[in-house]
Point group: C2
Amino acid sequence: MKLMQLVYLVSFFSVLIAFGYAVYLHLWVKRQPVSNQKIMEVSDLIHAGANTFMRKEYKVLAKFAGIAAIIILILLPSPIWQGEVTTNISMALAYLAGTVLSAIAGKIGILVATQANSRAAEGAGKGIKPAFLIGFRGGAVMGLAVVGFCLLGVMAVLWLTGDASILLGFSFGASSLALFAKAGGGIFTKTADVAADLTGKVELGIPEDDPRNPAVIADNVGDNVGDVAGMGADLFDSNVAAMASALVMAQSLDGGSGANTAMVFCYAAIGLLASIIGIVCARVGQNGSPTRALNSSTYTTTAIFMVLTAAATWLLPGFQWRIWGASAVGLIVGVVIGITTDYFTDDSKPIVQRVAHASQSGSAFTILSGISYGFISSLPAMVGIAVSALTAYKLCEPLGDGYALFGIAMAAVGMLSIVGMIISNDAYGPIVDNARGLAEMGGLGEETIRVADELDSAGNTVKAVTKGFAIGAAGLTVISLLGAYMSEVNESLAALGRELITGFDIMDPTVFFGILVGAAVPAVFSAMLMLGVDKNAQRMVAEIHRQFREIAGLKEGREGVKADYDSCINIATEGSLKELIPAGLMAIIATVAVGFIGGPSAIGGFLLGNITSGLLLALFMSNAGGLWDNAKKYIEAGHEGGKGSEAHKAAVTGDTVGDPFKDTAGPSINTQITVVSLVASLLSSLFAALSLFG
Amino acid sequence: MKLMQLVYLVSFFSVLIAFGYAVYLHLWVKRQPVSNQKIMEVSDLIHAGANTFMRKEYKVLAKFAGIAAIIILILLPSPIWQGEVTTNISMALAYLAGTVLSAIAGKIGILVATQANSRAAEGAGKGIKPAFLIGFRGGAVMGLAVVGFCLLGVMAVLWLTGDASILLGFSFGASSLALFAKAGGGIFTKTADVAADLTGKVELGIPEDDPRNPAVIADNVGDNVGDVAGMGADLFDSNVAAMASALVMAQSLDGGSGANTAMVFCYAAIGLLASIIGIVCARVGQNGSPTRALNSSTYTTTAIFMVLTAAATWLLPGFQWRIWGASAVGLIVGVVIGITTDYFTDDSKPIVQRVAHASQSGSAFTILSGISYGFISSLPAMVGIAVSALTAYKLCEPLGDGYALFGIAMAAVGMLSIVGMIISNDAYGPIVDNARGLAEMGGLGEETIRVADELDSAGNTVKAVTKGFAIGAAGLTVISLLGAYMSEVNESLAALGRELITGFDIMDPTVFFGILVGAAVPAVFSAMLMLGVDKNAQRMVAEIHRQFREIAGLKEGREGVKADYDSCINIATEGSLKELIPAGLMAIIATVAVGFIGGPSAIGGFLLGNITSGLLLALFMSNAGGLWDNAKKYIEAGHEGGKGSEAHKAAVTGDTVGDPFKDTAGPSINTQITVVSLVASLLSSLFAALSLFG
């Protein structure tokens, strides 16, 4: 086991380097000057608001996680009265560790992001170069924290228990947190955004970040909880799931050599190192393009990963080139998905411009063209995921039994290897978005706002790319989870002395039944979230109207009169948790109903239908949302009549529709899929024992 | 074979009765008075315009069908150099017969509908009762023609060849026509509708059916070609496919008795008779509700069908109660789907009212709430289809090998048994819609227009129900087609001496690859159709602007000055065919690519993915479209501020988005699915012989 020790050591040192560099970056960010009193004040409000949300969210989550941990303790991996008690305890503890580590990473990300925003705002006064660096390095802390905690957690669980299947518990923990952080945060952010826009921009005609608007702090908080903490939790979840399923397979393939397990860790560690190098290299010139800087550091990271993993595969004993190929295919397809997403959502490309042009005929045409291109944009990603799964499978099939599915898992690991870089890019977005708002509220002048605007626009484009990437990675990961579900079910069936399942045949009517129901669930889930945003936004609009009515001088902006920002933050927080629960319950109840009606085979179909339509809708909604957002920005930059034109009004409608698409419903579908997989695996023994048609 | 003779005789007489009654209804409609010169003139223009479209459409179709027939002649059921030449000739002829019979039914439907519209307009002057009867009976001719020709064709093919598998050729013919009629007609109708609204209502502020608008005739023609001919062809297609796949299985199950085959015909004939009785009974009082009249005749037909088939099952030898159960389950689920669709699209129900209310906050909220409820509305139908397939399967499984899948096919036959009634209800819609326009153009006065409006609104609601029904039926039918594809592939594999396929396992990466790609195709297909409508509408808008500019006095409505209606009709016609072809080609190329990459298993997955996401999107788009249409009508009836309010403007945007959703993209997905199944079965032998990973 010398190889394993070496790999553990390398992984551990990469984590240490990542944490060390994150601390350095954090201190660097904190050292950047911030002097404007107003800005510091607002930034503190944002920081406090984000903490309010996270505190309440974590409180609800704690209850949820407690119940789930008890269920796991009793049932997983096998009912406590049948199996080893210690294994169940490990599983439950791993589950809790998954939620806690992801929560800590989110907390750190929010802390740094809410310090970086004010500094980036002041930095923007000195030009693109310093402001970009503050925004990017602030985001990078989150990226490093997520990947570091993820690798550390996986290593610890495996090292302590020696049993890779316990990692599924850790992965489930990460999924539970992601549901709350991503879907809850998604409702929060769009509640505030929509309510702020409706009352501010539409009713009063005041600018986006005017401090008179009681929702303005909630809106800025939303950017942080939705995009920093939410997206971080989502990618933490995907990354853990990919590693967990790869390690489960690796362990069963290893025999005594440990080579496959070593390979998974080695690749993950190299991915982290490559991301660190990419972060170090990210720079922009005084007149450079921030979008290009973000993208080129992604490409740098990708290239470094491929070269280093090739070197490791060449040098280390038992590492196989075919598996390297599978992970390379995954990563390349991930980058390709990112590029095609960029094609559909970047305003220098034809699609966004066409939607902007169509807006001249009215908002119906903004919507129709956006929906159409959103649908079309799903094709390359779906084909990419399909091709990478097929290629990885066929590439690794010749290595022997079980290697084919391991190949798919390694494609997912490859795609997610650069996740540190991806999260850094993504978290950059809300920091500079906040910075733009702070520059406006602090009265830093037009030139500073222009610089902040440019940084913000780059953040939007890159965010769209990140989402495509996250959805693609989730797609590949869930294929591995389907395999995990099957082995889970077969254990239960074996215990019952029943025939094992060798696959899920679509001609089997119970499988088909599951597929159709499973396909409808993401549609209903996302609809419930969107309606939840709407309902919650109505509540907040009512509160804003109340404040304008009751707080004398607020509307007029009288000196010294302050809006009650906290009440808006509270509404967004409580509403987001209240609206999230029914949607989550619907998905869980549907799973349980299908399981008890159709049995384990129906659940196999259910998961497949869920993945398929979930990917399609998530890609459609994320891309259409990004497209509309940038079409509006494109018009605001002076095209098709510019600000205030009919086309602009139509584009604003598109953007308002797109907001919950891209920031609430679309990306939450990922976590809905993993939660459903969790429930399915958790209850597989019950479905095997009791079902109407199973 | 005495039983078969009896059943053939009964079927033949039902067809004769249907045709006889259709002729009677046609003569009755023609006898109704029409005296207003203006109305007759416009009605003639509509009739001529519809003929122009159909002539050009059939010309393009003839080329397409010719090529397809030659391919069939060479390749199907087995390559001409391997099998019997006569079988291939029969198959090719059956294919051509399928296109021709469906085309004739469409032609008859259009003829009667364009005669009934003017008479219904004048009838509206005398009240709801006579106008309803003219509209409904005019539509019933189409319903009877479609079902009559369908049953006649199926009977003829089976009687002449004795080989049920030749029916697949007949079914493919019906699908080809449906693609052109439904998708082409769908583009036509929305091109004209959108262009007429944009230039008339929005730019000039003139009423919907103002004769000054050069697009007004094209708009009325569109209602006929889209909803009468298009929907008729779609349901002809589904009905033939359901019968064909049921008969293929019945024949292989029959042994010598013929009981199962007899059962299929007997049930189809009873369905036709039940529809006739339902049509005879459809009446509305002078102050009655036309919606209720349409719905109650559907329920009557359903009840009669169930009772008569139960009687037949009891009386006739070899008829099995379990199979009766399967067909009853199918029909009941069909009605339930209809009722849930109604719940989501009827303006007396809460959903439409909520969307209308949300419109007060602006068009973004009309869109968001409509999309959300559209997504949710897909759930009951998906579950319904899933449950009926599962129940039918499990119900018939104990009858022996092969009966389980036959049960699913019989559920589809049951669901489609009342299709005569369904088409009658559906074709009623465009007739009264036209009548409303004619009443306005003929200056028949406000009270007449109000009556016509009420009839029109009932048509809208019922149309939404019909679409839900048609999609549900298509869903069940395509499950049977998946079975047909498998037996097709296995013949090819057996000929190659390769291992047969026993199913399609979703854990097989080629199947999974197919599923993901197949799921993306309906999204891209519908997007291309919607973008096609948009492009084509822009062309027509340019033409309308040209006419307003160049024809002196047109805009002002000077006496004797006429718009050039024909040029608009030509633009809609040519554009619709031009925009249809790339979308159709995309679906076909995707099928071919997946087949050559992944082989027969990948195609199995491809068809499944296609069906799953196709059903989801078709239900979503049809229901959301119907919802927006009626939300607008609800506001126009004086709610939420009524006509001209901000809510109304927002609802108009929703309606404009919904139009191509519900009349072009949504329902065309059905035919896309059947076309893809056709191509898959056609080329299965090639995929089996040549593929990269197969």
